[in-house]
Subunit: 408 residues, 2 copies
């Protein structure tokens, strides 16, 4: 197992963030994962990192803070935290994140507190998120199991077995259970080429999504949109994989040209709360109606965070036969669940989803239909009976997905 | 054990830092001690803390950084770190620290790196250390065992037994093994009153230390010096215990009036390196000669860090019969070992060791004989045959300690 974990750590450093000689690295992760985080640190120095700092988190400390700290703690985001990001951003740092949090970490916490802190922190960290979302900085996220997360995914197993089983599922989903995961990921990248080329050459004006769950949605696409998949490329030309695993091809919708209803096909775990059985109605791009059976308040906080969070920032196609989908496991973690299902995101779009987008001003991006927000939250709507049709400028229809599978 | 730990956490919060309603708290500690740190966080909220933040450390991450990071990482101390202290200092934060580090954590690390970073960090954090050393902020340190520390103290025991035994030793030394440690500590404070009153009324001009190990040292005392012991009082009048345990009465020497030779009676664990078998010769207050059998380079870095680190900043009297001394355990941790033995510190003195010192400017303190430095490093020289004589202004001699015990 130690050898497998070492390879997994190396996958994050050499393929995920693709750390280059002389670059600083910041690792974000939980104190309970210290052993794996130390392996990532060592791998990053092997890659030639100039410095590897760790930004430690602890689920229980965070939860207790939300439950017991004074109100004013959530109303401001200290400048020194902003300056810390700026310090590392200015040095071209690679950000690596190890996800392991309990999907229910913040259940029962006053949603107002979460909303308030999310708003002030994302507003103040906008310069940082602009750099990561435009690939001026490279970053990568992977996951390791925590006891609570494992029990959420496998509630009927004893804790140790649940953790063991979640490890197996994660490593399999992440294509990190082979002899040489880094080589496997290079091949994985190439598999997306044909699919991306087809979609990019077609330049559909709209996509129409429909299924038996009730989704009936027209998603307009901006002129010169770009489909991305199988990893990304930094502004310096260095390849990286923001997400491990990744099975999607994605682009940005035209923010003002989305109409119809989308019904979520999986619960959404957002900041330690689970939003279940929800749907959103869009009119001219804007979310005008939404409902959730559980945690509608959290969904409200996401959608109504700012103006841009009422609009879509991502549309992603994932086959129902994707390896992660076929595992049949609900991970309660977007990193995995988004790779089991076609999905959308409300909030900010990746600027490189339109040609030349990384060089456009905020105004130019908006004019091109590329949405902006302090939020970017994915949610799943793909199903085994999903049908997707591409509609060209002249009205020609091309069937893209039938029963959840690509047909081109 | 869980109940004992809860009481120990409460001792740190309610007696050590004496957290008051509405105060922020910052806990510094190691990721391996997360379980205890979470207990401290809860206790701090019980005390009414407005916020409890954790500043996480990890011995292995720190060691790997020292061994593998680029040179320039040690040459600067980022402003955002300074601003973080300022942010919390401005809010009257109580700083709690949980010590558990491996005494050999940095063994084999290039001493130049440690020296360089110590120098830049302490220079930039001077405003913060001035606040803590003048009791403008309250702070408290206690210890919990780590596996490596326990094996250092009890090398012949299996690891789990060593940890268990170090827990027992720590809790006993910290007077935290009774039914109500907080009450025990209130009584403990009172025991120092008579001793402090005697020494403060006598206002000796000099103390003469001599023993068979080779120590023969005259320590001049400044006019209006104050002996402190059994805890301290913040500038706001709130009691606190900076150290758990504490068995010493201490004051500040006259920085320019120390003459003779001191021979250390215990090794000194400094930032993960063990300095052994060392002695220092002082002339008119200044260390003019020093030797160590092991890690003389580290001793050199301490003494030659700045001008003030050549002078003494603390003289502390501890009986050879002190409970910690009687345990006969070498802890390799100053928090414990300094309470088993009379000791000195090179570097900065506590300003409140002279009457009105907290209101004096840097120049006034220096004129009063109170030393300043970016360092403050305690080292032990008390022995079972130590003799201490107080010499009054008029030359009258009063025997203070004979065979390591107080005789007044």
């Amino acid at each position: 197992m130690k050898d497998v974990l070492k390879k997994y750590a190396e996958l994050l450093v050499f393929a995920g963030g693709n750390v280059q000689k002389g670059q600083p690295v910041v690792i974000g992760g939980n104190v309970n994962d210290a052993e794996f985080i130390r392996m990532v640190q060592s791998a990053a120095y092997d890659a030639g990192a100039s410095e590897v700092a760790v930004d430690w988190q602890d689920d229980e400390i965070t939860r207790t803070t939300y439950l017991r700290a004074a109100d004013e703690i959530f109303e401001t985001y200290p400048d020194w935290r902003v300056d810390r990001f700026k310090f590392y951003d200015d040095r071209g740092t690679v950000y690596l994140h190890i996800s392991s949090s309990d999907p229910d970490m913040l259940s029962g916490v006053n949603p107002e507190r979460i909303k308030t802190l999310t708003k002030v922190s994302r507003q103040k960290l906008k310069p940082h998120s602009t750099l990561t979302m435009s690939n001026a900085l490279r970053w990568s996220v992977l996951a390791v199991p925590s006891a609570k997360w494992a029990k959420k995914v496998f509630p009927n197993l004893p804790q140790d077995d649940a953790v063991q089983k979640l490890w197996q599922a994660i490593l399999k989903a992440a294509r990190a259970d082979g002899e040489n995961p880094i080589t496997d990921w290079k091949k994985h990248r190439e598999n997306f080429t044909e699919r991306k080329n087809f979609l990019n050459s077609k330049q559909f004006a709209k996509l129409h999504f429909a299924n038996g769950l009730g989704t009936d949605l027209f998603v307009g696409m901006p002129k010169n949109h770009v489909w991305i998949g199988g990893g990304d490329v930094g502004q310096d030309g260095v390849d990286f994989f923001p997400n491990i695993p990744t099975e999607e091809v994605f682009s940005a919708p035209d923010r003002n040209n989305v109409n119809g209803k989308v019904v979520a096909s999986m619960p959404l775990s957002f900041q330690g709360n689970l939003i279940e059985d929800f749907s959103i109605v869009f009119k001219d791009g804007r979310a005008v109606e939404y409902h959730a059976k559980n945690n509608e308040e959290i969904l409200k906080n996401i959608i109504e965070m700012d103006d841009g969070s009422h609009y879509l920032g991502e549309v992603a196609l994932v086959e129902n036969s994707s390896p992660i989908s076929q595992m049949g496991i609900l991970f309660y973690n977007t990193l995995f669940d988004e790779n089991a299902s076609s999905h959308l995101a409300v909030g900010k779009a990746y600027p490189n989803c339109v040609k030349g987008g990384n060089d456009m001003s905020e105004e130019e991006l908006k004019a091109a239909g590329i949405n902006d927000s302090i939020m970017h939250v994915d949610f799943m709507f793909g199903t085994a009976d999903m049908q997707v049709v591409g509609i060209s400028e002249d009205g020609t229809e091309t069937l893209l997905m039938q029963n959840g599978e690509f047909v081109f």
